[in-house]
Amino acid sequence: MENALSDCQLVKQFLQGNEEVFEVLVARHQPRIFTAIHLIVKDRYIAEDLTQEVFIKAIGTLRSGRYNDEGKFKPWIMRIAHNLAIDHFRREKRYPTIVLEDGTNVFNTMDFAEAPYEIIQAQKDTKAKLRALIQELPDAQKEVLIMRHYMEMSFQDIADATGVSINTALGRMRYALLNLRKKLKKHHIAYDQNIYPR
């Protein structure tokens, strides 16, 4: 659904009783929210449920009058999405992680770390491979990559949300991109430096 109004204007209309405009907000943000949650929980159906839950929670907060984001709807709803996905992920996770300063999970460096089973089994499809390679990144790096690239949160917002400094958030993004680049090369996934616009 196309609509030239800004998020802020749509939220204002919603708060004034025009609840239909929420559909525009859903259409605008749902694809990114779904992609980000999918990368975190790794299950399409759970991601669909959680995406729906994000918007239900947002409506609840808006209706209750507790919404006060000073015009920043997107970071606010992305943070809801991130929190819901992480809560779900933590509930499902049965083993502890120890994150090193660079965001590396200490267990990733040990010999008994799992073989890249997902890679081996992945379809010969770039998307599936890319998704699998992102999953291989250490948790802290993957978290920043998803929040910055897919949720479009600023590095400052990410720093605030994850309780680290902006330099740490930026550094984790750097490690994530460099690691990903290495993995892309290793798995011969084509990424032509000249075909992407500057």
Binding site: T35, L130, Y150, Y191, R198
Partner: protein
């Protein structure tokens, strides 16, 4: 004095989180520094590939907003 730019600076530039004046300085530095330009291209290509996972509409809206001249 010529400022030295890092990979973190390039990432801030790619994600439009660099003040305009600094972005101009970085663009000028890339013109004179082949290694910096290559590093930028490699990072940019990796970042662009991430868009493959986005639905078409969301990916194209990002490209429109963050492509650098």
């Amino acid at each position: 004095m010529t400022k030295t730019f890092t990979q973190d600076d390039l990432i801030r530039y790619i994600y439009d989180e660099m003040p305009p004046e600094e972005a101009v300085e970085l663009q000028q530095a890339m013109l004179c520094d082949g290694a910096l330009q290559e590093e930028y291209k490699a990072l940019r290509a990796t970042v662009s590939l991430l868009d493959e996972l986005l639905p078409q509409s969301a990916a194209s809206s990002r490209q429109g907003s963050s492509s650098k001249a």
